[in-house]
């Protein structure tokens, strides 16, 4: 429902953090250290994805001067 591409990006980060929280809770219940390492790798991937995604958004903004996803959706035409 939000049109801003940056807000959508922040919601993706929120979802990744929710998964992290769940994994840490499971690591506490089952006393396993592998889940916390998986959280670490999820953070690694999230950081790399933020870097590349923001680069793409900045490049789109230079061309179209807007971060509205309805406008960005029509780029294929």
């Amino acid at each position: 429902m939000r049109r801003n591409a940056i807000i959508i990006f922040m919601c993706i980060e929120l979802m990744l953090n929710a998964v992290n929280l769940l994994l840490v809770a499971f690591s506490k219940i089952y006393a396993d250290a592998d889940a916390q390492l998986f959280v670490f790798f999820i953070m690694v991937v999230a950081a790399a994805e933020v870097a590349v995604g923001l680069a793409i958004i900045v490049m789109m903004y230079r061309k179209v001067h807007s971060v509205d996803i309805n406008i960005l959706n029509r780029l294929k035409h």
Partner: protein
């Protein structure tokens, strides 16, 4: 008690991320959410992940977001409101999903926490598992970072305007 306070802060700040008009306010709410989640990690005895969460997410990624938002000079945008019916349908379906997840968790009935070891979250133990069992993903993640860095620089580079010689 602290658990409920941190949960209330995390949920309300997450709602604030979605519902706020100004993108800068959304970033501030997201930073508060990350701090609340790091507090949850400390409660669950995962100290390394709590500190890494604060440093990486609230320290680096959110600063990057703020830089990009300031670069674009976004104001509070006016969203066209979708129809009331669509919003009501969204709220109802979200609530039903929440109820289903709650019922699944109650039926699953997790076993009680055995007090086997409370020092899983310590960085020495995590490091021992990381460098023996997960050494390959660790090295591959360094290659991933390198490629992400190169990709971000290549994507963000300004194209030079070529001098078109018209052959005159």
């Amino acid at each position: 008690m602290l658990f409920w306070i941190l949960s209330a802060i995390a949920v309300s700040c997450a709602l604030g991320v979605i519902l706020s008009r100004n993108p800068v306010t959304s970033v501030m709410f997201l930073i508060l959410t990350f701090f609340a989640i790091s507090g949850h990690y400390i409660l669950m005895n995962a100290q390394f992940l709590a500190i890494v969460n604060i440093i990486v997410y609230a320290g680096a990624i959110m600063v990057l977001f703020l830089f990009v938002i300031m670069l674009m000079n976004l104001n509070a945008d006016v969203e066209p409101q979708k129809g009331q019916l669509v919003q009501l349908a969204g709220v109802i379906s979200g609530g039903v999903l929440f109820l289903v997840v709650l019922a699944a968790i109650k039926t699953a009935a997790p076993q009680p926490i055995e007090k086997t070891s409370t020092d899983i979250g310590l960085i020495t133990n995590l490091g021992k598992v990381l460098f023996t069992k997960y050494v390959l993903p660790f090295e591959i993640s360094s290659v991933l970072f390198l490629s992400a860095m190169i990709g971000a620089v290549v994507i963000g580079k300004k194209e030079e305007i070529p001098n078109i010689q018209r052959g005159e």
